[in-house]
């Protein structure tokens, strides 16, 4: 099957050796992605807060990674490379979502600042407030917070994944934590 697809894509003049090399490359790719799949899916789901969209994000990341797989010179860097593709894909999805749901986000922000009285316990109220405040954050801030507090990445690690300066990571974290702290303190009152 792979052979026929390869022939279709490159003009049908591939030698047997080339086909074998491509099949070997595909097998290598499958192995590398499979090893990362659970962690990738979990991270995507945490960033996006949507399991179905997380599946799409991981699949899209796998497709993008496969198309650029031939450019990857060092297989030891696959994990970091795939991680970067996935996180950037999730960030783009959050941005799209934010653009399409601007009104809802504003409403969620209001709700985060004024938690509902009917919450069963303080802990539940606090977490509800945090959930809403987290969703109301800017997409880039959500990604940074998730990488810091879920993936336990350091500031340099986050900067490396997102390819942004460390100062930008610190600034985004500071801004996001301020919003989350305000939501937490509001829920505790």
């Amino acid at each position: 099957m792979l052979g026929s697809l390869v022939r279709k894509s490159v003009g049908g003049e591939k030698t047997l050796e080339t086909l074998r090399a491509l099949e070997l490359r595909a097998d290598t790719f499958r192995g590398l992605v499979d090893r990362r799949l659970d962690a990738a899916y979990r991270l995507a789901a945490v960033i996006l807060n949507d399991r179905s969209e997380a599946e799409d994000a991981v699949h899209d990341a796998a497709v993008a990674a496969w198309r650029r797989f031939a450019d990857l010179r060092d297989l030891a860097r696959f994990d970091a490379w795939f991680h970067r593709i996935l996180v950037n894909g999730c960030r783009d999805r959050l941005r799209d979502r934010a653009r399409g749901r601007r009104v809802d986000v504003g409403r969620e922000l209001l709700a985060a600042e004024h938690p509902q009285i009917g919450d069963a316990s303080e802990a539940t109220a606090v977490r509800d407030a945090l959930r809403r405040a987290l969703i109301a954050l800017a997409p880039d801030d959500q990604v940074v917070v998730t990488l810091r507090f879920y993936a336990d990445l350091t500031v340099p690690g986050i900067a490396a994944v997102l390819r942004i300066p460390e100062g930008t990571v610190k600034s985004r974290l500071h801004h996001a934590m301020g919003r989350l702290r305000a939501a937490l303190e509001g829920a505790e009152r």
């Binding site: 894509s9 490359r25 699949h59 796998a62 496969w66 987290l134 879920y150 934590m177 303190e185």
Partner: protein
């Protein structure tokens, strides 16, 4: 983040909120989709070809930039100062530009005049920009900044070199060998020089150049279309340019063969050397009785080949005088000169 008293709680609650989002292991369907990616997506052509394409484009870009460099390096090379004087009396061929042992000899042909205009690097620059742009698209990451920057620099150089305003004026002039100034006609402002060299003899006139523009202007030579056919051309013809070494732009310094030079702020004088036409009257002409000859041939104002920041351009040089050569009117030579006119009204 950790200096606030409630930050540990925020840290803990935030981690808990995020942990609650964690769905656990990937579903089997996703694993199946991902395993099928190599079959369904297929290795794209661009992925397979990108590396050799980038290498080919990079090589082409290097070659093009190299060719541009070689073709323009002569325009931005070291400039011989106008004060580089020449020991007088030591005769040598002026075919060696700026030779320190060559003395002025207006009877010799020399450098400074060319027949055809130089090849413009514009097409090479456009090609190089296209190749560099394609290279920037082909490669990934911050490395693409390199060809992008190179293309921007090349384009900027071409735009500045082409569009920067410049003029070259003649601020001084005078007759040289075998040239005399005609008596000024009352009421006329035209300055007339008679070229009185014998047939196919040499003549010279002096010119002082002054450049006006925001960037230094380098004189590369004089363009004379007839120069390419000088062996068969029998009219009046410019054959060489010599540089006057007087530092303040005057015409009394030591003279050396032409080599490209930047026009200093104080100006720079040169001597245009020419060959008289095959039908020239020479000394037989009486300037006090110009109507006694058959006709006059005049030399047209030439074009100057200059460069700005190494970018070659051509500007028209408007001579402030009219140089004419008297001839008997009928001549047994094979062709007439570039323009022939009746005697000037004196």
């Amino acid at each position: 983040m950790s200096e606030r008293p409630n930050d540990p709680r925020l840290d803990q609650e935030l981690r808990e909120v995020l942990r609650q989002r964690d769905p656990g292991a990937a579903p089997g369907v996703l694993r199946s989709w991902v395993q099928d990616v190599p079959q369904e997506a297929g290795p794209t052509r661009s992925s397979q070809l990108r590396r050799p394409l980038a290498a080919a484009l990079g090589l082409a870009a290097v070659i093009l930039v190299g060719v541009i460099g070689v073709t323009t390096i002569g325009h931005i090379g070291p400039v011989t100062g106008p004060g580089a004087s020449v020991p007088a009396g030591s005769a040598a061929s002026p075919s060696a530009p700026a030779s320190p042992v060559t003395a002025f000899d207006p009877t010799l042909e020399g450098p400074g005049v060319s027949g055809a205009d130089d090849f413009s690097p514009a097409i090479l620059v456009v090609l190089a920009c296209v190749v560099l742009g394609a290279l920037a698209i082909t490669i990934r990451g911050r490395r693409r900044l390199l060809p992008g920057t190179a293309a921007a620099l090349l384009a900027g150089w071409a735009v500045v070199g082409t569009l920067v305003p410049l003029t070259v004026d003649v601020f001084a002039y005078g007759p040289g060998l075998n040239v005399v100034r005609a008596p000024q006609v009352p009421g006329s402002e035209e300055v007339l020089f008679y070229e009185l060299a014998p047939a196919s003899g040499r003549f010279s006139v002096g010119l002082g150049f002054l450049a006006d523009g925001p960037l230094p202007v380098r004189i590369e030579g004089i363009v004379s279309p007839a120069f390419d056919h000088r062996d068969h051309f029998i009219g009046m013809l410019l054959t060489a340019v010599w540089i006057d070494g007087e530092p303040n732009g005057g015409m009394t310094g030591p003279i050396r063969p032409f080599a490209p030079f930047e026009i200093p702020r104080s100006g720079q004088s040169v001597w245009l050397v020419g060959r008289a036409g095959a039908c020239a009257l020479g000394g037989a002409f009486d300037p006090s009785n110009p109507a006694a000859v058959g006709g006059f041939q005049s030399i047209e104002s030439p074009d100057l080949r200059v460069s700005v920041l190494g970018w070659p351009r051509t500007v028209h040089l408007q001579l402030p005088f009219r140089l004419v050569e008297p001839n008997p009117g009928s001549c047994s030579g094979p062709t007439p000169g570039p323009s022939s006119s009746p005697p000037p009204s004196l």
